[in-house]
Subunit: 169 residues, 2 copies
């Protein structure tokens, strides 16, 4: 992860359509170099995908909310999986659940959900609560996005001063 990698990622983020050849021209290096760098970034797991990024709002889901869930710690049925796994599996079946993480703090699990409207949000929450393992759910609606999801500044920071830390070689 050096400065060239940073420039390469920045270029690709700004203009994803540029091919390897064009990128090499922009960066002023040989095509093989760009190819090797890209392969390495993918191999190291820094680049996880090239898929199209979808905008939930454009899909008709303009409302974003964070749900803080409390999970049944000792399943009353006390069957197999802890509450976490059961809830995770349940959440995975709901399309409106975009991501979910177990967390420290008051709630046991944070889920990011979207909905077609505030009214529709109720439906989504009900879907989440459909699992017995979910004890409680507190909702925080995202009103406006102040900083849109981004990773490039982080990559540049890592490129700038991580020459040898986690950057294996």
């Amino acid at each position: 992860m050096d400065e060239l990698d940073g420039r390469l990622l920045a270029l690709l983020r700004d203009e994803p359509r540029v091919g390897v050849l064009e990128a090499s021209r922009r960066l002023g290096v040989a095509r093989g170099t760009v190819q090797a760098r890209l392969d390495r970034l993918v191999a190291r797991g820094v680049v996880t995908g090239w898929g199209p990024e979808l905008d939930p709002a454009a899909l008709g889901y303009p409302v974003t909310a964070f749900l803080s869930l409390e999970i049944q710690q000792a399943p009353s049925g006390a069957s197999t999986a802890g509450g976490h796994d059961a809830v995770a599996a349940h959440l995975a079946t709901i399309p409106e659940v975009l991501e979910a993480h177990t967390t420290t703090g008051g709630g046991d699990l944070v889920a990011r959900v979207v909905a077609r409207s505030n009214t529709d949000l109720q439906r989504v929450i009900d879907a989440v609560l459909a699992s017995d393992a979910v004890v409680r759910c507190s909702t925080t609606i995202a009103l406006a996005t102040q900083v849109a999801y981004r990773t490039l500044p982080l990559a540049l920071a890592a490129a700038g001063r991580a020459e040898g830390s986690s950057a294996g070689r």
Copy 2:
């Protein structure tokens, strides 16, 4: 956003490297159709980008946390921007802040941050608190990812039963 769009997006997510021609073969439609569909999805804002997705963990930032910030509602300096804007601008300068949203509920703003370690997280939090407009900050560390960020199920759901709602041709 019909069923073909859904299949196209699913294909692109699974194998982003396939070109338009290959996609048309897989989907069993003409190349021009795939091209037109893609153009339309981009034009409608459903597809917002094709950039490489970066993994903060692979960049050396394996710790993820959600910060709930309380913002100075009535700026003591009472100068120009409300606390929100000032804080948003401040957060935008911190590479470790991946995203931030104003919210309802207890906190005024939720920020997703990453750090190199739990110790390093303190440094990041301090950076966030460097703004005078931030009154309080409560930290929730994400322990494990139960559902990784995804939008495809949502797109498929929208494709399935949104034929005419927000898909105003």
